[in-house]
Every structure is written in structure tokens, then in C-alpha cells.
């Protein structure tokens, strides 16, 4: 445990000095995707629900946050909150339709609903259609902290990310998180103990959607635009890839996965289709040979070594 705390602090220290070495917009994108991947992990890693359209929460909130900033001239913190809450609300309604199902059916239903949301946003008057929503302002935080430079804003994004990850940690290590894991492993048993799995799944989906919404809102304020790409299926599949690659059901996994995929995308962006082909190939390799993900494998290695040591001792 102490080692983990130390690792966490080292990571935080590295994050604090990172903008002096790496382009801060890239760092912010990674952070927003860390939050997004954590939200996805809450569903698939801890509750066993594969949401195949998580981009609807991410991209939907990006538009809502953008709209509140641009057309309603709302303060930054309120716009982010608005994006988060509206995504959570959308998650709640999707849940009403979808949580009665699990496994494949849940995946297909969320996939289809996400397409539906995509069509709505394509035609809705406030989104700017194919052009997207451009030049979203980034007003001063709390009214007095100027965040127009990306280096300053990076620290705001970092603070939000740390808060979100801590909240995520609290959720999965609470009694509620225990029940979610029990539902993942055996939902009939949970039901026989007197809990209603559907209610817990609904709450998990709402929380996860809200967190994805926060990530989407952050993304809209980082790039200062929101587009249909944010709601499209490739984003949904990217977050699946990040989470699986890093390690399902681990705290650090989605962070590693998000960092890896964002950096990969940046490097392959100039090679056209190869970015997507590489994503497909990595996804296939992870599914075939690395189902525990990078962090999951490392954890397993450490555990094995510990067991061996205990045997010898």
C-alpha cells in the first residue's frame, strides 16, 4: 500500500512539472481521456456492463458545456457542471431502457441509442451540424483566475482529473462498489441477498455517464470547440481500447491506456488510415493475448512473485 501511495505521489509530481517538457494541450487531452476511461472502467471493469456508445455522454456534454459558455455566457465551472449533470441525466434515461439487459444485449442497445443521439445532435440547431461548435470561450475560473493560457489551464484540468480519480477510487472501494463487483460476478446471487441489481446498475450508469460528461466538458474547453467526432462511434471504441489495454478493473489501467493511445494517435495522425488500423490491431492483440491489460499483467506478476517468496519463506 505504501509503495502504491509513493507511486501515486511520484506520478502527481511528474504531472506537476510535465508542462515544462511536453506540449500542455496534449497533456490536457490525455487527462480528459483518463477521466473518460475511468468512467468507462466503472461500468465494464467494475459492473460488467459493456457500454458500446460511451461517446454519447462524452460528446453530448462537450456540446452542452460549449453551449453554456458560448451562447449563455455562463461561468466556466458552471458550464462544466452543466455538462456533467446533463450527461448523468442522459445516462439515467439510457439506463431506464438498457439496465434490464446485460452482456451482449446491453452493448447493442447502448450502441443503437448512441447512434440515435448522434443523429439528434447532427440535426439539432445549436450544434452547428457538420461544422461543429467553434470558438467556445474560456472565461476566468471562479471569475478571477485567468486560464486563457494553456499552461495555466493545464493545472485546472489536472486538479479536476485528480479530484475525479479520487472520487472514482472512493466509489469503487465503497460498499456500493462492492455490490457492483458482486453484480459483475454473479448478479443472481446479489438479487437473492435482497439487493436489486437493476437499481445499482442504473446508478452505476448514471455516475459513469456523469463522469464521461465531465471529461467531454473538459475536452470542449481544452480545444475550445465541440464536433460530431466527439459523439461518434470511433470515440466510443477508443475508450474501450484504452481501458482494455491498460487493464480492466484496475485503477491505473485506464490512465496508462489513455496516455498510450493518445500518444500513438498523435504519432500516427500524419499516416492517415494507419492510426485506425493500429488501433484495431492493438485491440485484437489485447483481446487474444493480453486480456488482463498492461497493469493487470504487472499486478499478476507482482502477486506471483509474492506467492513464490511466501512459499520459500
Amino acid at each position: 500500500m505504501a509503495v502504491r501511495l509513493l507511486l501515486g505521489l511520484a506520478l502527481l509530481a511528474a504531472a506537476l512539472v510535465a508542462p515544462y517538457f511536453v506540449y500542455s494541450v496534449t497533456l490536457m487531452v490525455i487527462l480528459s481521456f483518463v477521466v473518460f476511461a475511468c468512467s468507462f472502467n466503472l461500468l465494464l471493469g467494475y459492473t460488467g456492463l459493456l457500454c458500446f456508445g460511451h461517446a454519447m455522454f462524452f460528446g453530448g456534454a462537450a456540446y452542452i458545456t460549449g453551449y453554456m459558455l458560448k451562447s449563455m455566457s455562463m461561468p466556466l465551472e458552471l458550464a462544466l457542471l452543466g455538462g456533467t449533470l446533463s450527461a448523468a441525466l442522459l445516462g439515467f434515461f439510457v439506463g431506464l431502457v438498457a439496465v434490464r439487459k446485460s452482456g451482449i444485449q446491453f452493448a447493442m442497445i447502448t450502441f443503437a441509442i448512441a447512434q440515435f443521439i448522434y443523429f439528434i445532435l447532427l440535426q439539432a440547431p445549436f450544434t452547428g451540424g457538420e461544422d461543429g461548435m467553434q470558438s467556445i470561450p474560456r472565461p476566468a475560473l471562479l471569475g478571477f483566475i485567468d486560464v486563457s493560457s494553456s499552461t495555466t489551464y493545464y493545472y485546472v484540468v489536472l486538479a479536476i482529473t485528480v479530484a475525479a480519480v479520487l472520487a472514482f477510487y472512493r466509489i469503487v472501494h465503497s460498499p456500493f462498489g462492492e455490490i457492483l463487483r458482486a453484480i459483475r460476478d454473479n448478479d443472481a446471487r446479489v438479487e437473492s441477498l435482497g439487493f436489486k441489481p437493476e437499481r445499482f446498475k442504473l446508478l452505476a450508469l448514471t455516475l459513469s455517464a456523469g463522469m464521461a460528461g465531465l471529461a467531454g466538458g473538459m475536452k470542449a474547453t481544452i480545444f475550445q470547440f465541440a464536433t460530431l467526432t466527439d459523439v461518434s462511434f470511433p470515440i466510443s471504441s477508443e475508450v474501450i481500447l484504452m481501458t482494455l489495454l491498460g487493464g480492466l478493473g484496475t485503477l491505473a489501467g485506464p490512465m496508462v491506456g489513455a496516455g498510450f493511445i493518445i500518444v500513438l494517435n498523435e504519432h500516427l495522425a500524419q499516416f492517415g488510415e494507419w492510426a485506425l488500423i493500429a488501433q484495431g490491431a492493438i485491440l485484437l492483440l489485447v483481446i487474444m493475448f493480453l486480456r488482463r491489460g498492461i497493469i493487470g499483467e504487472i499486478n499478476a506478476l507482482i502477486r506471483n512473485r509474492r506467492v513464490k517468496k511466501a512459499d520459500r519463506g
Partner: protein, 293 residues
């Protein structure tokens, strides 16, 4: 509102709806067959449909094989590729959570589509229609090729349905889904049957692709855009129900067409609206029997 709609527009759209419905029906039927035996949602179905059309296009342009040859050859070629994929990718995953099968087929689709787009570009390529001309019905013009596609797809759907629901082979398939070990103890090679069934489903997708080539353009993304609707069709029809998939496919094609006539802005969404309503009222889909789920 109603008097503004000419019969040409109405029947023209209904024909388009019937054509689209034919493809929805054939593709969702293939998905239902694969899901019924393997519990895998074949996310590569759209890519395999596209490969069918693409193979036909390649056969025509590089080997001079005409449409009628491609109609037989392309599905066989793509089915062979599909069977190899089943062996290499799906077989090792079959005892794991079914979500891995879904994700693996998606990954394959991503790779295949990406490679084709990289090699041939994203723009659509025309494929000449093998049957030219048509007939003027007075209220509309009916191209022969489109008429042929509708009839062909109905024959394929009915034939496949009869094969699976009313023959001994179909009984084996259904039995192998329920109790593979018992079917195996009767001397049936279940793994080979799974491979062949997957190949059959993939072949159906490729066949639809060849049929589609002269109507839509041959492009790398032709499958993906269609599959989004097809997945909604499968959810509405009830996952794994073959007759449900066929009927829902045709009905939704027509519903979409009618929406395009009376409320054009809603045409892209109507399938999903229907899906949400059906899910709220009949969570298992319209045609599924409860014991299958």
C-alpha cells in the same frame, strides 16, 4: 400535407424502402444465425458485406469476371476468409465472456476497413448493373435490377429460414447451441459445424454485398453505415430470432421510407425511436421466445 405528396414520390420511396429492407433482412438474418449458434455478435458483418461488394468489383476490374460469376465466387471467397478468421480469432475466445467475441470481430472490421481505405481510398466506385432497363408501371418507373434484388432477397431469406427451422441440419444447429457436448456425443463434429455456420453467415453478408454493388457505390464505409441500422433491427426483432430478423428488416425498411415521405427530417432516427419504444414495451424484442434468452 397529404395532397402534396405525389404517387411517384410515395411509390419511389416505398421501392427504396423495400430495397433497403431487403438488405436489412439479409444482414440481420446472417447475424441471427451466427448469434444463434455461437453467441457471438458478429461486428465484422458490415465489413464482410463490404468485402463481398469489393471482391465483385476486383473480380470485374482485374479478372473480367462478370456480375453473375461474382455472385457465386465473391461469397465463397469471403466465406473462406471468414472461416479462417473463425478458426484463428473466435475459436480461442469461445469459452470466454461473449463480449470478447464482439470486440474481436469489431477489431477485425476496423483493420479490414482501414486497410481497404488505405489502399483504394474512401470514395465510392461505381459497379455497372447487369440488368438494364425497367418497366413503367404508370405511377412509377421500376428498374428491373431493383425488382430482381427484392425477389432474390425474399427467396434467400425464405430458403435460409426453411433450412434452419425445418430441416435436420437446422435441428442440429439449434441442438448444438443448447447442448454442444450431447450433440457431439452423437457423432456430430460440432467445432466444424460452428466453422461452417460462421462461413455461411459471412457468405450471406458477402452475397448481400454483391447484390448491393450495382445499387449503392462500392466503398469501404458502405458496410458500417448500414450496420448501424441493422443492429437496431436485430435488437427490435429479438437477438437470435431468424424469422424476427427477416420480418423486422423488411418492415423497418418500409417504415423508414414512409418517414422519408411524410417527415423527412426524422428518417435517420425513426428506426431508433421504434427500437426504444419496443424495448420499453417488449424488452426481449418483438419475435423472441423467452426460452431462447
Amino acid at each position: 400535407m397529404f395532397d402534396a405528396i405525389s404517387p411517384q414520390l410515395l411509390f419511389g420511396q416505398l421501392l427504396i424502402g423495400l430495397i433497403n429492407g431487403s438488405f436489412y433482412a439479409m444482414l440481420s438474418m446472417g447475424l441471427a444465425i451466427i448469434f444463434g449458434l455461437m453467441n457471438v455478435v458478429n461486428f465484422a458483418h458490415g465489413a464482410q458485406y463490404m468485402l463481398g461488394a469489393f471482391t465483385a468489383w476486383l473480380l470485374l476490374n482485374y479478372l473480367g469476371v462478370p456480375y453473375w460469376g461474382a455472385l457465386v465466387l465473391a461469397p465463397v471467397i469471403v466465406a473462406a476468409v471468414g472461416m479462417a478468421m473463425e478458426r484463428a480469432v473466435l475459436r480461442p475466445l469461445q469459452h470466454l465472456d461473449h463480449l470478447y467475441g464482439l470486440l474481436a470481430t469489431y477489431a477485425v472490421a476496423l483493420i479490414v476497413e482501414g486497410l481497404i481505405r488505405q489502399r483504394y481510398g474512401a470514395t465510392g466506385m461505381p459497379y455497372p448493373s447487369p440488368i438494364n432497363g425497367g418497366v413503367n408501371l404508370g405511377f412509377m418507373f421500376l428498374p428491373w435490377y431493383r425488382f430482381y434484388v427484392v425477389i432474390f432477397s425474399i427467396v434467400i431469406c425464405l430458403g435460409t429460414w426453411l433450412l434452419i427451422e425445418h430441416t435436420r441440419l437446422g435441428a442440429y444447429l439449434r441442438a448444438a447451441n443448447e447442448k454442444p457436448d450431447i450433440v457431439e456425443s452423437f457423432g456430430v463434429n460440432v467445432p466444424r459445424m460452428i466453422t461452417l455456420t460462421y462461413g455461411f453467415g459471412v457468405g450471406l453478408a458477402a452475397l448481400s454485398g454483391v447484390l448491393a454493388a450495382p445499387i449503392y457505390q462500392v466503398s469501404p464505409s458502405m458496410g458500417t453505415s448500414l450496420m448501424i441500422t441493422v443492429f437496431a433491427v436485430v435488437v427490435i426483432g429479438g437477438i437470435g430470432s431468424i424469422s424476427g430478423a427477416i420480418m423486422t428488416g423488411y418492415v423497418l425498411g418500409l417504415v423508414e421510407a414512409l418517414t422519408k415521405v411524410f417527415y423527412p427530417a426524422g428518417a435517420g432516427m425513426v428506426v431508433f425511436v421504434v427500437m426504444i419504444i419496443v424495448l420499453l414495451m417488449k424488452p426481449n424484442g418483438m419475435f423472441s421466445s423467452p426460452e431462447r434468452l
